[in-house]
């Protein structure tokens, strides 16, 4: 294959299921050698449906997918020896031991690593004699990763690789994936952990209802989103008592009781002017929270906009997920807010 060709090339890809449900509705992206590309999305956004087409498990209903210059479905035998796949859900006989599973898979994998090496790689070395059914959810994910890495693949497909892992396990997997990427492995990863995409991805695409809603580097995707300033109006003050919002660089605002939320693409300018005004007026902006756009903001906004007012069940699930992390970062934001204010 030509070095300059894209390792993964997806053009106007479509997938329609038997019942007529269109899971993937014309998406286009490419991944270069040694790049880590993340597909983000709510459950049901089409991440797995897309990855399965790239793995060659099904033919596309339209458009094309190329992996290492070949059609992954029609030219399976050319592509398979060079890719490693981790499905969203295991797929191992529960009565085999860990090492028996790896040995079976090694017999079906060109240039397979020795069993011990593969298990050490994912930290399962001491569990080799254990039956698969006795592994924890996280250990099963590691076993799956070991099998994906068994043939030293050029391209790695990881479908939600850290679901079910604890924080430490997640860090270890990230470290391993980064090492592989640095070694030249091309990685396509799906996740609904925004932090995971922010941490690992060179580039990413946010999928929503089978279409790409946003794509680029994590910085590019978040840059298109406004930053946010939240505070409580001081007693006896009204919104009209603030300097004209347009002058502050505010693009959009809303209020909730006495809480004011401002959105801006010029965070520094808006924050500076707001704080200077408060200083001059000798008022305290309680609950001040200054926050630059994050992938999470971008994601939620895109999901909200695309979903309109009707919160689909998958959207609701994602929102809960994000809610959790938002609560988790509150303390951090308060600190960040203080830092900005100081």
């Amino acid at each position: 294959m030509n070095q300059h060709e894209h390792v993964i090339e997806v053009t106007d890809l479509r997938r329609v299921y038997g019942g007529g449900f269109e899971a993937v509705r014309g998406i286009t992206f490419s991944v270069d050698r040694g790049e880590l590309f993340a597909l983000l999305g709510t459950n049901g956004a089409g991440k797995t449906s897309t990855v399965e087409l790239l793995e060659g498990l099904a033919p596309p209903a339209g458009g094309s997918a190329r992996v290492l210059g070949h059609d992954p479905y029609e030219e399976r035998s050319k592509v398979r020896p060079r890719i490693g796949v981790m499905l969203q859900e295991g797929g191992f006989p529960s009565e085999l031991t860990v090492s028996e599973t790896v040995r079976m898979w090694a017999g079906c994998t060109s240039g397979a690593r020795p069993t011990g090496e593969a298990l050490e790689l994912v930290g399962l070395g001491r569990r080799s004699g254990v039956r698969v059914k006795q592994l924890s959810g996280g250990e099963k994910r590691r076993l799956d990763l070991a099998l994906a890495l068994l043939g030293r693949p050029d391209v790695l497909f990881l479908d939600e690789p850290t679901t079910g892992l604890d924080a430490e396990g997640r860090q270890e997997t990230w470290e391993l994936v980064r090492e592989l990427r640095d070694g030249g492995t091309t990685v396509l990863l799906t996740t609904h952990y925004l932090a995971e995409a922010e941490e690992l991805a060179d580039r990413l695409a946010i999928l929503h209802e089978g279409r790409i809603a946003a794509s680029g580097t994590p910085a590019e995707v978040t840059a298109s989103q406004p930053s946010r300033i939240t505070f409580e109006l001081p007693d006896n003050y009204f919104l009209g008592d603030l300097p004209p919002l347009a002058e502050l660089g505010v693009t959009d605002h809303d209020t909730d009781g006495r809480t004011v939320r401002l959105r801006t693409h010029e965070l520094q300018r808006t924050a500076t002017r707001l704080l200077l005004w408060a200083e001059r007026a000798r008022v305290e902006l309680r609950g001040l929270d200054v926050r630059s756009a994050s992938l999470e903001e971008a994601f939620l906004r895109i999901a909200r906009e695309a979903a309109g007012t009707s919160a689909s069940s998958s959207g609701a699930e994602m929102a809960t997920d994000a809610q959790g992390s938002r609560d988790g970062t509150k303390a951090g934001n308060a600190k960040a807010g203080k830092g900005t204010a100081a």
């Binding site: 035998s77 398979r80 499905l87 009565e95 028996e100 017999g107 079906c108 397979a112 020795p114």
Partner: protein, 264 residues
């Protein structure tokens, strides 16, 4: 068991890949006691419980002996229980555990997955047939087969046909238990009407000619003819054609309808 399973570097071959899969399946079979019992003992024990019934059959004028009734039945039971029935369970279990889907992401071709998973059961069936033949020859004065090539062709056709039928039947169920139920109709019909429990020679003609179209019948006919040596070339060809037709039909159905993933 290390044959053809390259443990480290090198490009894999179809034989090597299937051997690796078959080895894992053999390990799994040895750990599923119920399936193992049904596969190993039922076909070996069942024929001998039939012996008293066969002794009382009116075989005069049919050209059959107790041995030439019992042995093809025994081999038929082996195909039904050790091969067909256990493979329906195996395919359904691997599908439900997403093993089939996972295997399809690797270098194995679809046909290699199905064949590799079937190998241990087919091997057990083959060994049973050899053991049963030797036992019948020794215990029932059956003697040597008069037309061994017919028996061999019948056995080989059976060993290809029943895994394929098992794959088809396993596709029509949502669980392992469901698959075992789905396997029953063909199992019962084959036991009753393919010349295993009752030789077709003592059935009314019209019923017998209908029964000849069942999948197990040509296998039983060929094996019985192999021992008695009195199967005409015409009848032998007819049996082979019926068996081949079933194989073609089953392979077509597998390609068309086999489910690699559970219904969700």
């Amino acid at each position: 068991m290390r044959t053809g399973a390259p443990a480290s570097a090198g490009t894999t071959t179809p034989a090597g890949r299937m051997a690796a899969l078959a080895r894992a399946e053999l390990t799994l079979l040895s750990r599923t006691k119920a399936t193992l019992f049904a596969a190993l003992f039922v076909p070996l024990v069942l024929p001998f419980t039939l012996r008293s019934a066969v002794d009382e059959m009116d075989l005069d004028g049919t050209g059959l002996s107790v041995g030439s009734v019992l042995l093809p039945s025994a081999i038929g039971f082996s195909l039904l229980f050790a091969v067909y029935s256990s493979l329906v369970t195996v395919y359904a279990a691997r599908r439900e555990e997403l093993v089939l889907k996972r295997l399809r992401t690797g270098e194995l071709r679809d046909s290699e997955i199905l064949a590799g998973a079937a190998l241990p059961s087919v091997a057990i069936g083959l060994v049973q047939c050899v053991v049963l033949s030797a036992a019948c020859a020794a215990l029932l004065d059956l003697g040597v087969p008069q037309a061994p090539h017919l028996a061999l062709v019948g056995l080989l056709l059976g060993l290809v046909m029943w895994p394929a039928l098992a794959a088809v039947v396993s596709s029509f169920s949502r669980s392992v238990e469901g698959a075992q139920v789905a396997a029953m109709p063909l199992l019962l019909i084959s036991m009753l009407a393919s010349g295993t429990l009752v030789p077709l020679e003592i059935l009314p003609d019209r019923l017998a000619s209908l029964c000849e179209l069942l999948p197990l019948t040509p296998v039983v006919t060929l094996i019985r003819g192999g021992w008695t040596g009195d199967l005409s070339a015409y009848d032998a060809l007819g049996a082979v054609a019926t068996a081949v037709a079933w194989i073609v039909l089953a392979v077509f159905a597998v390609r068309r309808w086999f489910r690699w993933e559970p219904r969700r």
